[in-house]
Amino acid sequence: MNNHTYDAIVIGGGHNGLVAGAYLARAGKKTLVLEKRHLVGGASVTEEVFPGFKFTVFSYVVSLFRPEIVRELNLPAHGLTILPLESTLTPTLDGDDYLYRDGDHYQTLRNIARFSRRDADAYDDYGRSMYFMAKAVKYILGVIPPDPTALHPKDLMGLLEMARHFLGLGQEQLYTLAKLMTMSAADFVEQWFESEPLKATLSASGIIGTFLGPRSPGTAYVLLHHYMGEIDGAYRAWGFHKGGTGGLAEVLATAARAQGAEVRCNAGVARVLTAGGRATGVVLDNGDEIRAPLVLSSLDPKQTFLRLVDPAQLPDDLVGAVRRFQTFGSSGKVNLALDRLPELGCRPGVGRHLAGAVSISPNLDYIERAYDDAKYGHFSKQPYIDVILPSMIDPDMAPPGKHVMSCFVQYAPYKLADGEWTDEKREAFGDAVVDVLARYFPDIRDIILHRQVLTPVDVERITGITEGNIFHGELNLSQLFFLRPAPGYAKYRTPIKGYYQCGSGTHPGGGIMGAPGRLGALEALRSSS
């Protein structure tokens, strides 16, 4: 029996768990981070699934990783290396033409102008608006959300400060912000643009990870994630981490250990121990008990409230809210090991365009139809795919001359209309993805050495995330800010004293930001001191 006593235990060794662990240790707490798998990272893992080929298995880009965490945990000293991933190439539906956008500003405008001169002229206006939107929302990412229904002075002060911040935006930008928070991604971008490949690709950023289509209200907000990085430009918040997202997890684990935290793998937590309404430790899957007065869960809200503790201990309204928290997984992942670099039919040859994203989002209807399939319980026959070639950005990802391809695919609903996901259905889903890819990369079938297909069920099985929802819960307005994950429990706390939340299911949500891990740990430290 392992009876070691710690000051704090963090459940889950994903990026948020590791961040939380590092902050707790930094504050002098004897901290233990527990990860059920053999490696840290959760959904931020890199695995050599086939010898020599490293897949950034689930997540694949680092978006919005908080600069304050980079600084406070001195991550560059531990190997933080976020490599540029700058360009986006969108092939047209027939695969004969493409829209290419990169850092060559005027060439990008000319490329857009081939589809619409008006859109090219509007492109900078859109960028400027998004700058203001990102600036407005960036503020929210760093604060514990005040609850407007609470009459606590701290909440009122927080609201006041926020109001002051937003009013500083000016009228025009405030209107835009209101629209951004409520409109669909498609409607939002159609305020500026008329050409399909541009509208579709921009809107596609608004549906990533959600069970919504580009025409569903509320998706515009997620668009922002692509612009937020520009505010922290110097920090390069958007990019590909060396070694994949698992490389970032390794950096975080090293940083956590450097702060004095212990990170233990192969140590799944069965439940949280409580006594008299207080957390007192955890029980591992193997039955070991480990004691600590502070327990933080970086798991998703359903795991945190419905599995790790006895829901009967919790207020009914919370249990109900968590049960209704939308966690429906909607995306899949196909990772390919390739014998050589694939060529695009519309732009043959090698070039830096293959070191950026290739977005299979030829037009809005295409993505909306992909969503239609999912709405009724089928994976998309013609899915939206965000393709990158990690080995073109970091040569360490594949043997010299070989390549790996990461395909983020939407939609693949967690539950299918015709029963459970099976191996056959998974492979059929993989085939559908390869069929679409083959339209744009004509030689792809000849060069696939291995393939890994992951459905939301696989994501759940491997990482433990409920329903394989990569954000731990939908990122729509009804589940954001003081409503995330549940009204009254948005400040990383739980009804159990000493038990805190620090995962993506809390404010400000998913994506590899690290913000929930940091804010959760700081809140736990503040209220326990």
Binding site: R71, L83, E86, A234, P400
Partner: protein, 400 residues
């Protein structure tokens, strides 16, 4: 009108930016892509190929070659082994730096010197009476720097006749590529694992092609001067005419620097026999230098605040700056200027803003705090900074 280098047919074919620099009268790519960022990360993450042909190159041969070189440079040539490369400054008789560069000992009586400025007259004149010949071979040697963690793996595939596991930091070896001879020195201007390759101009294009072809398996990218400039600031390496003025170009005394004052005191061997500037350098070592070379790290939060005062995010990423900025004493009331930062850049690998420069020695203790001028929206502001050791970035692979 700047001239093409021996690699121009290749560099011009891939220079999408069309941003050419005039480097010693040659066309040198500032950057190849729309942004230098990927080129920078190639230096740090994979491999970058940089055309450094515009360097001046001299060969010193003859029975007194070693005596001549020893008379010129501040390091001790009697201790330089054949196959060893020195990085060194050389001074005038007042101990002020004329230039800095590498000295490769190809044989007991055969040296190759690289420099930023023309030095032929100086080398010849100071060798008067010695039985040695100084030849300007600048046009006879094309040069490429291959820098980055994958540089060794690429050279192992491309170069015959060299055991790269045995080629130590600041050493050289002779090999062949595709049948033609080349010299490889394990040197560079990036502070990373890297090599410089020296070939006859007629073999230049073939060398480029071989490296790019095999290098494509290792993420090789051609890189320009902008990426190199960021990397060399991270490495804390000085640049002539930016971080110091050659004593042969200075028009006032205060523009001149001794090696001690530009961070090259380690490369002065006053104990060796006589050399040009020795007496002055011994005296300076005795009484101390007026100026001290420093690396400073700006306080990031303070820098953010200075931008936030204007409601802006910190707009510091991008190109390294070669515009000097004044440094002030960090004391209340008395705002005395105590020096200047001559090169500064956001270091992408460190996520810090750093600079190198010179401070008056009494104000330059390691760990000391200073205020550096920063201009935000046309407003001059002061950013607190800390004096830290250089190189700012020093990966073990550089020497490993």
């Amino acid at each position: 009108m700047p001239l093409p280098t021996p690699f121009h047919s290749r560099t011009s074919a891939v220079c999408d930016s069309y941003e050419w620099r005039n480097w010693s009268g040659y066309l040198s790519a500032g950057l190849y892509e729309p942004s230098h960022e990927r080129e920078y990360y190639a230096i740090r993450n994979s491999a970058a190929l940089i055309d450094v042909s515009p360097l001046y190159k001299y060969e010193v041969t003859g029975p007194d070659a070693a005596r001549l070189v020893d008379r010129v440079i501040t390091r001790d040539v009697t201790r330089q082994k054949i196959g060893q490369v020195y990085y060194t400054p050389w001074c005038d008789s007042a101990g002020k730096v004329i230039d800095d560069g590498t000295v490769s000992r190809l044989a007991a009586d055969h040296f190759r010197i690289t420099s930023a400025d023309p030095n032929g007259r100086w080398f010849q004149d100071v060798g008067y009476g010695l039985n040695a010949t100084v030849t300007n071979v600048s046009d006879d040697l094309a040069a490429l720097a291959l820098q980055g963690p994958r540089s060794r793996a690429i050279l192992e595939e491309v170069v015959d006749g060299i055991d790269f596991g045995q080629l130590n930091y600041f050493h050289l070896a002779q090999g062949t590529v595709d049948g033609f001879p080349l010299t490889v020195t394990r040197t560079g201007y990036t502070g990373d694992l890297g090599y410089e390759l020296w070939v006859r101009p007629e073999h230049a294009e073939r060398l480029w092609d071989c490296l790019m072809e095999r290098g494509s398996r290792h993420g090789i990218l051609p890189a320009g001067i902008l990426a190199l400039d960021v990397a060399r600031v991270e490495a804390g390496l000085v640049m002539i005419a930016v971080d110091y003025v050659s004593s042969h170009h200075a028009v006032i005394e205060s523009q001149k620097s001794s090696p001690y004052e530009i961070g090259l005191g380690w490369a002065v061997a006053p104990g060796k026999g006589d050399f040009i500037g020795r007496r002055a350098l011994l005296a300076e070592r005795e009484k101390g230098s007026a100026w001290t070379f420093v690396g400073v790290q700006y306080d990031w939060r303070a820098l953010e605040r200075l931008y936030a005062e204007e409601d802006l995010p910190p707009g510091v990423a991008g190109r390294a700056s070669r515009s000097a900025v004044p440094v002030y004493e960090q004391a209340s009331g008395n705002r005395a200027q105590i020096g200047h930062i001559t090169s500064h850049a956001f270091a992408p690998i460190l996520k810090q803003y750093v600079g190198i420069g010179q401070l008056l020695t009494p104000h330059a203790p390691m760990g000391g705090r200073v205020d550096v001028e920063v201009t935000v929206e046309f407003k001059r502001k002061l950013c607190p900074a800390t004096i830290v050791p250089t190189p700012f970035f020093d990966p073990p692979r550089k020497r490993g």
